[in-house]
Symmetry: C2
Subunit: 257 residues, 2 copies
């Protein structure tokens, strides 16, 4: 059963986790992936955590039935909702996006957090690092999905959300997988603050664990199959707006989960 | 069965339809209402129309089981998806938000339309009126829900969406129940263009039909029971940010639909 040639399953509510997928592909070019975007039920960030937890279990079960050797929960809300339970109860390694970036934040003085409403309210990051200031930023996801991350609109919205951030903030956790697109804009609003994104930190953690467990794929082709619960063409358009070329794409009905 | 003392059922994917509810209450102060917000599955605007159609049928069935005498689909996406079928197949009067405002638009020369992606792509307004220019504006809903409708951010976003509107536009249909909040901002960007919102037009149509059918409530108290599929407290907070006081509020699980 421990066949290292099996793919890695990555899931998110929609396209945000593609930033994590890209970091994983850079760190692990010989791995194959299923990327599952639950686009019929996006967004997770405004839903009750108990509901998001149920979605995470459904999708993890589905990915296991496709034969994945590891699961990456590439969504902060789902990581907040479903971890650590999912990792404890499944037989394959399961990774969330919170712990790796939170560990990276520990070296800094005052640490801030931005994310969806559900992530911020869950206080899940505080299991791993002391958070001095946290803010839900619901407009950032639609701004990114509109391709406006470098637009003056994004700058104005970022100023709106960050105006009450402490002056002596040293690092800011980008607690949503969409936010790496906004790094340039955020750096203009908070010059000198270290912006920590979960994609790179998570990819490093996954690579380290697979190596340790003897699960690195010796012969993978870097193949990615995208699975979505909503409209496939809308997904393709949105992914391509975010710079991700979608070659293999299938729709999964919610009844199959 | 034609008891005029029964309530009217109003539904939307979330809080947007509250603009329609408010117009209905002004036009029909003696009516009682169920307002159903499908907040567990919001937004509808980015989902496939076939899925939204299924949701609309589920909710209509639920409202009929609660004994409503009429149904108002206070959501442009659901109206686009489920009407006219729903009106033809149910035994109570069913109203969408498209036809009344589209009829009001007929008196103008060049008519534009703004709405969600699903509404714009459905071309449903074109059943009733010639639309010369149409644009999906996905950021408007989260902007309104953040309470930013009069903020400089809203002005910048409105300029972004409307920059390619024809110079000789005479009227603009606000094809989403959230958009009436943005009227002030839109008027600044498109001075001289008549902004047509569906809330008032729909309320007039409902009042006219109930009167004609002998269904006006002689003794209602203007009672409103809010029913939501997602988290009740989040709904209450959001509704109150939009100026609607929520007195009676119940959660409905998706399994009850």
């Amino acid at each position: 059963m421990k066949d290292p040639r099996r793919p890695i399953g990555v899931f998110d509510s929609g396209v945000g986790g593609l930033t994590v997928l890209s970091a994983l592909r850079r760190a692990l070019p010989q791995e194959d992936f299923f990327y599952f975007g639950d686009t019929a039920r996006v967004p997770y960030g405004s839903k009750p955590l108990s509901m998001v937890r149920r979605f995470a279990w459904e999708i993890a079960g589905f990915l296991l039935r496709q034969g994945v050797k590891a699961i990456v929960v590439a969504c902060n809300t789902a990581s907040s909702a479903a971890l650590p339970d999912l990792a404890e109860d499944l037989s394959v390694p399961v990774f969330g996006v919170l712990e790796p970036v939170a560990k990276a934040a520990r070296g800094y003085g005052k640490v801030g957090l931005i994310g969806t409403q559900a992530t911020v309210e869950s206080r899940a990051y505080e299991r791993y690092v002391e958070v001095s200031w946290a803010k839900a930023c619901p407009l950032f996801v639609p701004l990114v999905e509109e391709g406006l991350w470098d637009d003056p609109v994004a700058l104005l919205v970022a100023r709106h959300y960050l105006e009450d951030a402490p002056q002596d903030l040293e690092a800011l956790i980008l607690g949503c997988t969409h936010y790496p697109f906004l790094k340039g804009t955020l750096a203009r609003v908070l010059p000198g603050v270290r912006l920590l994104d979960s994609a790179e930190a998570t990819a490093e953690e996954v690579a380290r664990t697979l190596r340790r467990e003897g699960l690195l794929n010796p012969e993978g082709q870097g193949r990615v199959v995208h699975l979505v619960t909503g409209d496939p063409e809308s997904y393709r358009n949105l992914a391509e707006r975010l710079g991700v070329k979608v070659e293999e794409l299938k729709q999964v009905s919610l009844e199959e989960l």
